[in-house]
């Protein structure tokens, strides 16, 4: 099953799905760059992502893909360039502030709260949805009970989207690998983002798990009506689920376009084959 989306060019930096044209883009990245002590890791990175777009960021190992994610979430402060998240400039903001503004992510090497339960993992992400104070919590006032009840219900609802409601009481670190990846996605969704960044969501998955993941990615976009930007080496997944793709090599975008365009782009083919054929694990 392939989604056939018409991609249309927008004035400045690229293409977005036609259905998102009448809405402001969720993310606009203009000429982003970062240096690590004289070494330029990412340079002149511009991208635009539509409100409900599923976008892909691909490229050989070490191209700077995860660095882009770290720049988008201000884990690293960009040296140059502008990021507009929901139209607002993110410069100088902290990671947690960006999260509140609507950007959530998963990690390449899973970073769950391992010793806590699945439910608590999600409820931590619902932190900002609750509003009682520490004093109200210690005195166990009604506002505490209400917020806790609502957030537990919300957490269970979110878990059930990816079929994890029965694991709520398990310790996160004891889950099988695939479930840990799914939990990380649920946790990111719990922060109520307008764009979700997935860093190699299919890493370590077998083909049937990957197929399920593709379904889930589409489902998340449709249920939550959000944009998704993913980094992935699995070309079946990227070509199958992404609407717009950007290819990164040596920290620079070498191509942007629809899956078909990217597959037939000679520069991209050279970048991949020129490096190593066994890249697509």
């Amino acid at each position: 099953m392939k989604t056939h989306t018409k991609m249309v060019p927008v004035p400045s930096q690229g293409i977005i799905p036609e259905r998102d044209l009448d809405k402001s883009p969720v993310l606009e990245i203009v000429r982003l760059g970062i240096d690590f002590g004289g070494l330029t890791a990412v340079e002149d990175f511009s991208l635009i992502i539509g409100r409900t777009e599923i976008a892909g960021l691909i490229g050989p190992n070490g191209a700077g893909k995860t660095t882009v994610f770290n720049l988008l979430t201000n884990v690293y402060e960009p040296t140059r360039g502008t990021i507009l998240l929901n139209g607002r400039n993110t410069r100088g903001l902290k990671t947690y502030q960006l999260n509140k503004m609507g950007i959530a992510r998963t990690f390449q090497n899973i970073r769950l709260f391992k010793d806590l339960t699945v439910l608590d993992n999600v409820k931590i992400a619902l932190h900002n949805e609750m509003d009682y104070s520490a004093v109200e919590a210690v005195l166990r006032l009604p506002s505490y009970w209400r917020a806790e009840r609502i957030s537990t219900e919300r957490a269970m609802e979110l878990l059930s989207v990816l079929g994890m409601q029965d694991m709520a009481g398990s310790i996160a670190g004891s889950l099988p690998y695939g479930a840990q990846r799914r939990l990380e996605i649920v946790r990111a969704l719990a922060t109520n983002p307008s764009i979700l960044l997935l860093d190699e969501p299919a890493a370590g998955m077998n083909p049937s798990e990957t197929a399920e993941l593709m379904e889930n990615i589409r489902k998340i976009r449709d249920v939550f009506n959000i944009a998704i930007l993913l980094i992935e080496h699995d070309m079946n997944l990227v070509m199958g689920v992404c609407e717009g793709i950007a290819v990164l090599n040596y920290g620079r975008i070498i191509a942007k376009g629809t899956p078909e365009e990217i597959q037939n782009n000679p520069t991209v083919i050279e970048a991949y084959l020129g490096h190593s054929g066994g890249e697509q694990a």
Binding site: T73, V75, K94, T95, Y96, N99, K100, A104, R105, F107, R111, L112, F113, K114, D115, L116, D120, K123, I124, A125, L126, H127, N128, M130, Y132, A134, A137, V138, R140, Y144, A147, E148, S151, R187, A188, A190, T191
Partner: protein, 334 residues
């Protein structure tokens, strides 16, 4: 269908309150009925303030996941604040003591924020060292001030602390830690221990919650200091050094980093043990240090790990066992 008597939160709270009241009643009976002699009765007070110290240190070490080595410094701030206050004013005893305890908590908490803000920017062992440094500086300042009595210490403090005060204040302090941990604030604190980068990406203001956890721990150490000052009636700055901080750390580690009940048990045990075994004092620190090394090598999570006791849950499983026992008997009879 399993019937759970204590499933509802309310019934669990009532059960816990009853249990605490029962413990207190037993202690009061033992003391008022002169079953315990004066010396034994007085031991309850160090047990209580050590429980507060250890539980509060556990908040910073076990739940927040940092390793502060200056906890005794906060205790000193609280002790001196409370003592200087009660020496200066002349209010009715209980009122004066309540104000002194609150002041001790505020002052120690303030120091917690002042020290925590810069210190918590660092991680792991660097944080340990910087808090150690702050702890020593607090001690040096106390020695060099005149209001604190300098190196000679502060004497003539009123003996407000009795076993009732100690017990009640201890219960309130532990209650604060437990309820705080089981709230959105507590989960934020736990998430920092678990994975700071992930916590930040989940929208947790990590600096704020680190400082909050650290400040609450410091404030409670101050409360313990206030109890301590009005129990001993004399304060000697040299008792609040690195050694005291380490002793508290031993208790936390032994009980289990991240287990409140573990802290209560180990604080009680390690306070009573040296008092009960005469002549043990020479060996106390050696045993402590060996315990520390052995526990770290063989059971790094401490005796209780992160396990926390739930009276309601325990009672439920206890009743469930009894029921199944009866059922088995019935089945046999048939």
């Amino acid at each position: 269908m399993e019937k759970k008597l204590f499933k509802s939160t309310k019934s669990r709270y009532i059960l816990n309150i009853l249990a605490i009241a029962l413990v207190f009643a037993v202690i009061a009976l033992l003391i008022e009925g002169k079953v315990l002699n004066r010396y034994q009765a007085n031991l309850l007070i160090p047990v209580c303030y050590n429980i507060i110290l250890v539980v509060s240190l556990n908040l910073a070490a076990g739940f927040l996941g940092q390793l502060p080595l200056g906890h005794a410094g906060f205790m000193a701030v609280g002790a001196y604040t409370a003592a200087i206050f009660t020496k200066a004013v002349d209010l009715p005893g209980p009122l004066e003591f309540v104000i002194a305890i609150v002041l001790a908590a505020l002052m120690a908490g303030l120091f917690g924020v002042l020290i925590g803000l810069p210190a918590l920017r660092l991680r792991g062992d660097y944080l340990a060292i910087i808090t150690l440094g702050f702890g020593e500086i607090i001690r040096v300042i106390i020695v060099n001030l005149s209001i604190t009595g300098g190196a000679f210490g502060l004497s003539g403090i009123q003996g407000h602390t009795n076993y009732i005060w100690a017990f009640v204040v201890m219960v309130i302090s532990v209650y604060i830690v437990v309820t705080l941990i089981r709230s959105r604030h507590g989960r934020a604190i736990l998430s920092i221990r678990e994975n700071e980068i992930a916590a930040e990406s989940c929208g947790i203001h990590t600096t704020y919650y680190k400082t909050l956890g650290f400040a609450v721990a410091a404030a409670l150490a101050g409360v313990a200091g206030a109890l301590y000052a009005h129990y001993l009636k004399i304060l000697d700055p040299s008792t609040f050094g690195f050694m005291k901080s380490c002793e508290l750390l031993v208790m936390v580690v032994l009980g289990g980093m991240g287990s409140v009940i573990g802290s209560v048990i180990s604080a009680t045990g390690l306070t009573l043990l040296p008092e009960l075994l005469r002549g043990f004092d020479d060996y106390r620190m050696i045993v402590y240090s060996l315990l520390l090394i052995i526990v770290m090598i063989f059971k790094p999570s401490g005796l209780m790990g992160t396990y926390d006791f739930s009276l309601g849950g325990t009672m439920d499983s206890f009743f469930a066992k009894i029921r199944s026992l009866f059922k088995r008997k019935e089945a046999k009879n048939k």
